[in-house]
């Protein structure tokens, strides 16, 4: 292959550059999809059922405009709210709204029923304000729905439609708010706003994080490789492979999501690994071979590293492909994209970097600089290998103990699917969400659709009982149903001394005529969210003040028992139910992808090391790291969410690299005839530095995620540092300790020779100059080790 590279080095370089530029030019065409419901497959039951409900009752996405002041009941505040409400009502993108000026008070006085807006005229004196406050507290459709019971906040809730793009409607609402002066603080929230913030923040993150990650990478590479030409090689592989996998997003018709943000960062962090191994190794070869030709040095380089790099790459790809077992769509897409990017990085590293070295005539770093950091590394790694050789049992026990401690943390693990929590606590969107949840019953919903003859008292009473049960639940903010309106109307028709006051009429005709009464007095659209015009479907809308999974599960359970008493076809859906399913998907996806990745990596390692024990030895540090990672999440309260769920697969993919490199190097030393102790020390000197540099570059690459606008991505950044550190320590401490303690036989088999060739040509390695500096009996390798 080296001859091929030498012959076609110009073409190889050109193709790689063109690929990078070509795919890079597609990146601006990427679109963002902020809709988390699209993360779950459209075949998922909760999505199908929610779509069914939304076909009948429209999309239940609500925008909320919140006004907050020490007291909201002032002429100035109410005037602002009225003007903003009126302007919002005129937007074609808004279907309906609930505000202090649309909520009706159904009253019966002197035989006259009125269904008037809560505020007909803005009060002008303290007595009128006191009367209004009293009215609000008595009105079930106003209290904590349009005005908070502490009178400090008011809300306009607008249900948006698809007559205009959501973004346009949001922009119009924003400009309406901006055009009206208000002494009250105005906050906006609801899922459409959350989606717009996600769109904005995904783009902002991409524009900020990727350049920072690239800059950090450049810095780390410069510090470690010294020479700018040497730096440019792995760096350009990073650029090309990142461009390739990011450019694939629009090419495949996919859209950017919060999860896709991780893909370029994964690539930036991972794609330089192979280049670093190659460049550092070439610098070392170059340093001790003053007179050798570039071609010969290249042959030694590729012979030395191609196999372990290939195996590292394959296992990384296998680990990342574990994401395909996820049911979360962007997770699968991220798996495909990252795996493609790593494949590109692997191929480019094996072809493009040697081609570039050849093009540079091997001049990629000073030859005779005993760099200070080399000395620091050497001293530190020597000390470490001495400890490992001396106390392997204690090290294994220490790791086992730490693993057990962290395993306890797994019991505290939480699942997070609430999009509101993607944002940091002090972000405006999060503050609005918190206010909506605490004062106005929340914006996330569970929907129950009942199909049947809604005018039948049996069905209406069933809906009423369900509504009452739901209203008393913790975590439920507000419940809206047609039975509440019927009961309110009964209060206007009967006096409180009459039997039917605040009750559902006993006959079908009674209910039908009550609806007709409201059609004449109120606005039939008032009911459009609760019942269709044919009166064949009713909708119970539950707004959650605490939209966590526990609440959603409890609500689902109450609904399950409540609907048994309703003689109709009942469908349960809603955004919160989709999120609940999403949480289950995350757990299942996490478990499946973990099993898939671990099994694949185990099989690959067993094949590479030609031993089941080899597979097991390589897999143990990963298993330990996973336990440490998940335990750490449990102890620190970092939840498993759409982003952090990807971590374990990525960690396996990246972390296995270190183990392979170490065992491969150890094998090269032991087959040379060195003892176990000497092999550990020697391997640590040869490959330890590269592994540590690699670990640090991966961590530095991922560390930019802590600057993300999304809390969840920030946590991902912190966690990746924990997980890669544990993989790194597992590879350079636990693996040699296991080898020292148990002295498995597989490490003694010569891995550098393919099994099927070994019988045919025993001298193959000697024919190819430098098939591994690690190669057994190789004087070059021996010199290399000595030189180290």
């Amino acid at each position: 292959m080296t001859n091929f590279i030498i012959k076609y080095y110009r073409q190889i370089i050109l193709i790689c550059i063109l690929l990078g530029l070509g795919f890079g030019s597609l990146i601006p065409f990427s679109e963002t999809d902020p809709e988390i419901r699209n993360y779950v497959p459209s075949t998922m039951e909760s999505r199908i059922l929610t779509d069914k409900i939304e076909t009948e009752f429209g999309i239940q996405d609500i925008v909320m405009v919140i006004f907050r002041d020490s007291t909201i009941l002032t002429p100035g505040n109410l005037n602002s709210i009225r003007q903003i409400d009126r302007d919002i009502s005129r937007l074609s993108g808004v279907t309906s709204r609930i505000s202090p000026f649309t909520v009706r008070t159904i009253t019966s006085t002197e035989g006259m029923m009125t269904a008037d807006p809560l505020i007909m005229r803005i009060p002008s004196d303290p007595n009128e304000f006191a009367a209004l406050e009293d009215e609000i507290l008595k009105n079930r459709f106003a209290k904590d729905i349009v005005i908070s019971s502490d009178m400090t906040s008011a809300s306009i809730t607008a249900t948006i439609n698809q007559a205009e793009p959501e973004k346009t409607t949001i922009q119009k609402i924003d400009s309406i708010i901006a055009s009206h002066q208000s002494s009250a603080e105005v906050l906006t929230g609801g899922l459409p706003y959350i989606r717009q913030h996600i769109m904005k923040d995904v783009k902002r993150d991409a524009l900020i994080l990727v350049p920072i990650a690239l800059f950090l990478m450049l810095l780390v590479l410069k510090l470690n490789l010294n020479d700018w030409r040497a730096v440019l090689m792995p760096f350009s592989v990073v650029l090309f492979s990142t461009a390739l996998c990011t450019g694939m997003i629009p090419l495949l018709g996919w859209k950017l999501s919060i999860i896709s943000l991780l893909v370029p960062v994964i690539l930036i962090a991972v794609a330089n690994n192979y280049g670093i191994y190659l460049v550092t190794r070439f610098q070392e070869i170059n340093q001790r071979k003053d007179e050798a030709s570039t071609g010969n040095m290249l042959k030694e380089l590729t012979g030395t590293l191609n196999m372990p790099i290939l195996f590292s790459g394959l296992t990384t790809i296998a680990g990342i492909l574990g994401l395909l077992a996820h049911s979360i769509i962007p997770a699968r897409q991220a798996g495909v994209l990252a795996a493609t990017g790593v494949t590109a990085a692997l191929i480019m590293s094996l072809l493009y970097i040697p081609a570039m070295i050849y093009a540079q005539k091997g001049q990629i770093g000073s030859k005779k600089q005993p760099v200070r950091q080399h000395f620091i590394f050497k001293t530190w790694l020597d000390k470490l290998s001495s400890v490992i050789v001396k106390y392997p049992g204690r090290i294994i026990t220490g790791f086992a103990f730490a693993t057990l401690i962290f395993a306890l943390g797994i019991t505290f693990i939480k699942i997070e699917t609430n999009q509101e929590n993607y944002f940091p606590k002090k972000s405006p969107v999060r503050m609005a969400s918190d206010l909506i949840n605490s004062k106005f019953g929340g914006s996330q919903t569970v929907s129950v659709m009942i199909e049947g003859d809604i005018k039948e008292p049996e069905i209406m009473n069933g809906i009423d009982r369900l509504t009452q049960r739901l209203e008393t639940m913790d975590g439920v903010g507000n419940v809206f149903s047609i039975s509440q309106a019927v009961r309110e109307m009964s209060k206007a028709i009967y006096t409180d001394s009459e039997n039917m006051y605040d009750r559902i009429p006993e006959t079908r005709d009674g209910i039908a005529q009550m609806f007709e009464l409201y059609n004449m007095s109120g606005d039939p659209d008032d009911f459009s969210q609760m019942m269709n015009l044919e009166n064949t479907s009713a909708h119970v809308l539950v707004r959650l003040s605490n939209p966590d999974n526990k609440t959603i599960n409890e609500v689902k359970s109450v609904i399950s028992s409540g609907i048994k008493e309703i003689p109709g076809i009942v469908t349960v859906g809603g955004y919160a139910v989709i999120m609940n399913d999403f949480a289950s998907s995350i757990i299942k996806g996490q478990v499946f992808s973990l099993i898939f990745a671990m099994l694949t990596v185990f099989i690959l390692l067993a094949l590479i090391f030609r031993s089941l024990k080899g597979g097991l030895t390589g897999t143990i540090p990963l298993a330990v790291s996973i336990v440490i990672l998940v335990g750490f999440m449990g102890f620190t309260g970092i939840a498993i969410d759409a982003a952090t769920a990807l971590l374990s697969s990525i960690m396996i993919g990246v972390g296995v690299d270190f183990t392979i490199q170490f065992i491969w190097c150890f094998n090269s030393q032991i087959v040379k005839g060195l003892s176990y102790e000497e092999s550990v020390r020697s391997s640590m000197r040869i490959i330890g530095r590269s592994i540590v540099i690699n670990g640090l570059t991966v961590m530095s690459g991922f560390s930019v995620l802590i600057f993300s606008g999304f809390a969840s991505i920030r946590f991902f950044g912190y966690l990746v540092i924990v997980s890669i550190s544990s993989c790194l320590l597992g590879a350079i401490i636990l693996v040699p300790a296991i080898i020292m303690k148990f002295r498995p036989q597989f490490v003694k088999k010569d891995m550098s020779k393919p099994k099927f060739i070994r019988h045919e040509n025993k001298n193959l390695t000697s024919d190819i100059p430098g098939v591994a500096a690690f190669a057994p009996g190789s004087t070059r390798a021996g010199r290399g080790a000595d030189h180290e």
Partner: protein
């Protein structure tokens, strides 16, 4: 602007058209069909008797015939020219009569695409009227009616109405309603007109189409009797329960 448009003031045209549509009394059967975007149809049949009184006062007595579950439900509507309408409703299943106050002219009439304002004589003083660009062409006046202030606009629920009025007979042929983004959102088309003596007329069949909701509503008057003699006492709350 075409020559014809300069000949007659827009407000005069609207006044004349309105005056010709006012009947002293009338009795008819009304069938109201509401067609949802998905094709589902809901029908209502009512018997209606109206009578005009001096000072622009108009009274309507409506009794539901279909569907069966609301049969016997009766309504008395007193349409004041300058103040909120009064409305009483009797619910036979509940044996209760209740008075309803409705101040919102833009509110839907019996859940249809027609508003209460569409169903009664227009209060022309609420609007500024002017000729539209092509008024006078094709033998039709095109008159733009714009609410005089924000409150009136909100009450009616639109920012502009364009009435297509036949130049010869002053019959309203079509009305186009524009929302607050100045987009056409509702059209009422006259399908059939019944003419009476002295140039008087009433729209016998009209269809309202809402472009935003995709819903359509049709009103069809039948058994029209414009010479009905009705006692004033007929329009009483006591009569509702009979």
């Amino acid at each position: 602007m075409p020559l014809g448009a300069q000949g007659q003031d827009a407000e005069q045209i609207m006044n004349k058209s309105r005056d010709l549509s006012l009947l002293s009394s009338m009795k008819a059967t009304i069938k109201l069909s509401i067609t949802e975007k998905n094709g589902a149809v809901r029908n209502r049949t009512v018997a209606m008797t109206t009578k005009s009184f001096p000072g622009g006062l108009e009274k309507r007595f409506i009794r539901f015939v279909e569907p069966a579950d609301v049969r016997g439900t009766s309504m008395l509507v007193i349409d004041h020219k300058d103040k909120a309408d009064e409305m009483w409703i009797y619910l036979p299943a509940l044996k209760k009569t209740r008075r309803i106050v409705s101040r919102d002219k833009g509110k839907s009439f019996m859940s249809s695409e027609f508003s209460n304002a569409d169903m009664s004589s227009p209060t022309l003083s609420d609007f500024t009227h002017r000729h539209s660009a092509n008024s006078g062409n094709a033998n039709t006046w095109l008159i733009e009616s714009i609410p005089k202030n924000e409150d009136i606009a909100s009450e009616y629920g639109y920012s502009k109405k364009i009435s297509h009025i036949c130049m010869e007979k002053f019959h309203v042929q079509k009305m186009e309603f524009y929302n607050f983004d100045n987009e056409l959102f509702k059209i009422i088309e006259t399908k059939d007109i019944q003419s009476f003596r002295d140039g008087k007329y009433m729209i016998k069949n009209m269809i309202a189409s809402n472009r935003i909701t995709g819903r359509k509503s049709e009103i069809l008057f039948s058994n029209i009797d414009d010479r009905v003699s009705v006692e004033d006492s007929f329009f009483s709350v006591q009569n509702l329960e009979r």
